[in-house]
């Protein structure tokens, strides 16, 4: 009987120990797998930003646009009037001198975003780390944010959607825009457009640089310290997360 008892005691102790072990490593495993664990809020210590070198951006190259479409489940643009375009290539020609340049334009992730100010329900919001997003659960599709955006960065979903990327849920009748590939960034990755641009640039790197503007040691912060960069429509004083070089 005592042998039985001790066996029961052993099993109980082992079960308890096993339960404890599973719980503890469970927590650790999550911490290791993600750059930012899901249960931790984003912090304002980070300000995600992007620097685009227009001197290296080629007219006619649309690698960033294609990568964005693939990553976020956007269909190829066949109806330019109504299809969603989170990022687009813009060709510019200075009226006086004729100087030509090409650049990608997308949500500029303003520190003071007009779209967030005007949104009646609070569906347009800015994360603490500077990424401007749309909460697709409370967007009513009023399109006031599209009226307010100085960069035409937003698209309205005009048609029923098929073949969505589960990581980037979208919805007919809602407004959407560049998320800075937040699902990748939260895992420690970079936006798809930046990756594609770098790949297209071969060994020379790309025209797009992504990083933390608040970290003085980040490549983007160093570069912004070294060269003259521009915020588009700087007169509006929106403190943009996306900067351009060579405009």
């Amino acid at each position: 009987m005592s042998e039985n008892n001790s066996r029961r005691g052993f099993l109980a102790t082992s079960a308890a120990a096993l339960a404890g072990l599973t719980l503890a490593p469970g927590i650790r495993l999550v911490e290791i797998a993600a750059a930012k664990p899901d249960h931790e809020p984003v912090t304002a210590k980070v300000r995600w930003g992007m620097l685009i070198d227009t001197t290296r951006c080629q007219s006619g190259c649309t690698e960033c646009v294609s990568a964005c479409g693939k990553e976020n489940g956007l269909s190829e643009v066949t109806k330019p009037r109504t299809d969603a375009q989170w990022i687009r290539k813009i060709d510019l020609k200075e009226l006086k001198t004729g100087r030509a340049l090409s650049l990608p334009m997308m949500c500029q992730h303003c520190a003071h975003p007009p779209c967030v100010d005007v949104c009646p329900t609070g569906a347009s919001f800015k994360r603490a780390d500077g990424i401007v997003l749309v909460d697709r659960h409370i967007c009513i599709g009023c399109r006031y944010c599209m009226m307010a955006c100085p960069y035409k960065a937003r698209s309205f979903v005009h048609e029923p959607l098929t073949d969505q990327n589960p990581e980037v849920p979208r919805g007919q009748g809602c407004v959407e825009s560049c998320t800075l590939c937040v699902h990748r960034v939260d895992r420690g990755g970079t936006p798809a457009c930046v990756e594609a641009c770098a790949a297209a640039g071969g060994g020379n790197g790309g025209a797009m640089l992504f990083g933390d503007l608040n970290d003085p040691e980040s490549a983007i912060a160093k570069r912004i310290r070294e060269v003259k960069t521009t915020q588009v429509r700087a007169d509006l004083k929106l403190d943009l997360g996306v900067r351009y070089e060579g405009i």
């Binding site: 643009v77 109806k79 330019p80 009037r81 109504t82 969603a84 375009q85 687009r88 290539k89 813009i90 060709d91 510019l92 020609k93 200075e94 009226l95 006086k96 334009m105 007009p114 967030v116 100010d117 005007v118 949104c119 009646p120 329900t121 609070g122 569906a123 409370i138 967007c139 009513i140 599709g141 009023c142 399109r143 006031y144 599209m146 009226m147 307010a148 955006c149 100085p150 960069y151 035409k152 937003r154 698209s155 309205f156 979903v157 005009h158 048609e159 029923p160 919805g171 007919q172 009748g173 809602c174 407004v175 588009v232 429509r233 509006l236 405009i247």
Partner: protein
């Protein structure tokens, strides 16, 4: 006596009454069909796109909302400023305000990308948004004007009439200020972003609202084979002329100040000279049809009831033209992202945006007018709204 206005019910001509309901119902049905079509297929079947995001439904909706706040002025002149001729018209004014507001909001809601989430719009508020503030003003407007209407029609509550009249007056001024500010707060677009938008919308609302009131009042008098007192007609037509003149003045000041800023000259050139349909709608629709012609009709000697109604219809048409120019014209002009550069892209950057509204968008807009019409026709039938200045004359004609 002027201090104790009387009202009559209009129970005559039942066949024609049902005919009016059927006509209004048909427009409502067409609007409902358009609504179902847009929501099922998405806005891709409309003329709106990612550049012209607010189209014809907004033109009608904002017009109705602005006119709704303006039509209440007739009641305010009676209750707040104590003019007996206007006090007799206060109930009809309050009714029209509620009916037109309901019509405008219905169109606005029907054009949402997600109209099924209307409850979200009523439960989630971003207090920094002027749009959210407008929604609160609209809800409050219904409550205040309805209570005001009760005090006008139930004499036992007449003691509250003055207070509610004042409240309704200030509320409607705040509401139109907020509606104008929807455009005034858009810093990015050249056409908007002006503090003048709010007072300009208020003066527009005075004109559109009074015009709508005069049309309905004229219709009701004609229906009952009554003749409006000439003194009252003369006062109301002169007031309309003042409002139309003031609207023209604000429009002129708006464009003159805009021309003063070098960065806005391109937009002014577009709107005033070479903007195609927008230029034509501005000059012919807003200025000539909505401003100059009504002024001529109102000030020409020997104004008749019919001529005042024609002038009022022109003011309403001019109002719709103004909304089209303000809302659609403002979006058609290319957004200046890189001043000093010629710009091109797959997203219509740098080009004047095209807008070809489909029939369903008009159906939706007319549906809003039909809703306001039906509410008015039914209410006038079952309750006493017809302003009656001389009860003895009416009895004699019966």
């Amino acid at each position: 006596m002027a201090s104790a206005p009387t009202y009559v019910e209009t129970q005559s001509r039942p066949g024609a009454f049902w005919g009016l309901l059927a006509a209004g119902g048909l427009f409502m049905l067409a609007a409902f069909a358009a609504f179902l079509h847009f929501e099922h297929s998405g806005h891709v079947v409309t003329g709106m796109d990612n550049q012209i995001v607010w189209g014809m439904p907004h033109v009608f909706a904002v017009f109705l909302i602005v006119a709704a706040s303006g039509v209440l002025n007739v009641a305010s002149i009676g209750s707040v400023f104590g003019k007996p001729a206007y006090k007799a018209r206060a109930p009809l004014s309050g009714l029209l305000a509620l009916a037109m507001m309901a019509g405008g909001l219905a169109v606005l809601a029907a054009d949402l990308g997600r109209p099924d989430r209307l409850i979200v719009a009523m439960t989630h508020f971003n207090f920094k948004s002027i749009f959210a503030l407008n929604m609160m003003f609209y809800s409050g407007f219904f409550a205040i004007v309805a209570a005001y209407l009760v005090t006008l029609m139930d004499r036992s509550l007449g003691g509250y009439n003055k207070v509610l009249g004042f409240l309704a007056f200030f509320w409607r001024l705040a509401l139109t200020t907020a509606t104008g500010s929807i455009f005034g707060f858009l810093i990015a677009r050249t056409a908007y972003g002006s503090a003048l938008m709010a007072p300009m919308f208020i003066i527009y609302s005075f004109a559109y609202g009074l015009a709508a009131f005069l049309i309905v009042q004229g219709g009701m008098y004609a229906w009952n084979s009554l003749k409006l007192d000439e003194g009252i007609l003369a006062r109301m037509k002169n007031l309309l002329a003042v409002f139309v003149g003031a609207s023209l003045y604000f429009t002129a000041v708006m464009h003159l100040t805009s021309l003063y800023f070098a960065r806005q000259i391109d937009y002014e050139r577009f709107l005033l000279l070479d903007g195609g349909v927008y230029t034509a709608t501005f000059w012919l629709g807003q200025v000539v049809v909505g401003g100059i012609l009504p002024l001529v009709l109102l000030f020409a000697p020997g104004a008749t009831q019919m001529r005042v109604i024609v002038a009022s219809v022109l003011v309403v048409l001019g109002g719709l033209a103004q909304m089209f120019v303000t809302i659609v014209g403002g979006q058609a002009f290319p957004l200046e992202i890189f001043p000093g550069y010629a710009i091109s892209s797959t997203f219509q950057d740098g080009v004047v945006n095209n807008y070809s509204p489909v029939l369903g968008e008009f159906a939706l807009g007319f549906g809003g007018i039909a809703l306001a019409f039906l509410i008015t026709v039914v209410a006038v039938r079952v309750l006493r709204f017809l302003p009656q200045d001389d009860f003895a004359t009416l009895k004699a004609e019966d």
